[in-house]
Amino acid sequence: MFKKVLIANRGEIAVRIIRACRELGIATVAVYSEVDRNALHVRYADEAYSIGPAPSRESYLRIDKILDVARKTESDAIHPGYGFLAEREEFAAACEEAGIAYIGPKPSAIAAMGDKAVARATVTKAGVPVVPGTEAEGSLRDEEIIAIAPQIGFPVLIKATAGGGGKGMREVIRPEDLSGALAAARREAEAAFGDGNVYLEKLVTGARHIEFQILADTHGNVIHLGERECSLQRRHQKVLEESPSPFVDPHPELRARMGEVACKAAAAVDYVNAGTIEFLVDKEQSFYFLEMNTRLQVEHPVTEAVTGVDIVKEQIRIARGRKLRYTQEDVSLNGWAVECRINAEDPYNNFLPSTGQIKSTILPTGPGVRVDTGVYAGFEVSPYYDSLISKLICWGEGRGEAILRMRRALEEYRIVGVKTTIPFHQTIMNSHRFIAGHFDTRFIEERFEMDEDRELRPEIAAILATLVAHRESQMAAQIVQRGERDTSNWKWVGRYERMHR
């Protein structure tokens, strides 16, 4: 097994990977930017190296600095996590050149799947259906895209070639909006990936976004761990995932068929390690290959919860050259799992990011509950990185129990100091459509209102506000009174401490 693994990431996923390494008896090396000195991944790792200032481009995206640390620490392997360098062919290649194992696919597979055009061509050849679009055309200029659009037919979707995570994505309903949307998408893609290339895709309406987790070893074995339902999205960002999918679960033959296609798509690029094949599925159970994520996914825990497989440990074993410990027949889905992504955003104010220090926090715990987080009381949520601060995963014997458990867990979860999307998820968990499993990728944006389907307690809210207002005016009065008295500094501090205990 590896002796030492460097984790080229931060936040909850860096912590997740450190945990897997520790449980395998592997030493860990963290890298961190200047604002992350006290981050959990730095605290938990065996070694930690500062690699530059806060902006990602000067730290977490610096391949040269990260490889320097890997060499200096004699790390055997590097795990890229997700985001940052996770789908950069040149990073995987640079690791290979430096003689350090990259815990992920070969550079050629990243390249094949990272270039959407090549990906489409490759999987089409292998008999996998794809959504109509322009990726096969390579980099097009705006005029060219605008010219082709009518052939695809509106509505269309602009997507970033280098993309992922909804960055640089725009839906366009009317032809006259295309030009402006292209500019916005290119700007966002440039900022997010340093690559402003975009392409068009037909917008499949009423579609579900369903993906398959696959594992492939270096001995030619490829299996899938079932599907994840990822249709609940906002601005093309997943907000909530579950496994199995309520759409697929009643049709085991559909799961088998999609799983087989997913494995075929992976095999088409000689894929090795963990990866995800994303499909769009329409109401008639037709499914189209969307893209492959050549890395660990944010939502991998729901699959872990229903299969019992520790995907990160499996990734490390595969990178070490081990054979898969499971055959397709060994994999079965037990129960149901839901994941809510908790972002530091204000759901009542257009999901604006919320930064600042976490003052206190209470995690939901108990049976069937898992929290993956990189923050803790005292930690400063900075504006430099993405807003995901925690993932709450609930398992139940069935979907009903998983949802009810998620409801109680969300209500228990306290994060004081930044606004979070917890109330947003509470509204989803109470939404009749969600509970019935009736939703597609447009649900959140088109048929969802905050605080819909909720039991309202306006009188209690009025009382609470009044009590707090009263309390604050009383305290203000006391402070003024006290200030008038003669008190030495020392006494003051003592009193202040007691007040704030």
């Binding site: 604006l352 807003s387 909720r454 609470l464 506000a465 009044t466 009263h470």
Partner: protein, 165 residues
Amino acid sequence: MKYATTLNDKTYIIEINDDRHIVVDGVEYAIDFASLAGQSLYSLLLDNESYESFVEEREEAWQVLLRGVLYEVRVADEREERLRKASGGLAVSGGEFSLKAPMPGLVVAVPVAEGQTVVKGDNLIILESMKMQNELKAPRDGTVSRVRVKAGDSVEHNQVLATMA
């Protein structure tokens, strides 16, 4: 102490005379009220019903987050309320609007110029934070009177970015 507390156009008259009781529209309840985290998080036992809530002041109103639902509540003490009524309840609208940065970030674009007329919903500033492009929009029709930042500027939380007349 008597308060007039308003929420969704309904006003509650709430009287707080001691630590253990509250009178809401003439009905008395037993209370046990505690601050939990030193700030914003409170526990209330109201006739033994247990509630926990985030309560924070924001621009003259109290935001109450209770069981996953947000309420916006205005609390006035009796004297304020009398004054407000006497003045005919005139809301101060119109006037100057200052667009402040809702969080620290990087200005990526300023699609308006000083003197430009805008309609409600137009983008004034595009601010990047947490890897997201956040479009800050005009809250009403008007004219951009001043633009205080340019693309590439780093801004602090609450920094004024532009003003509208």
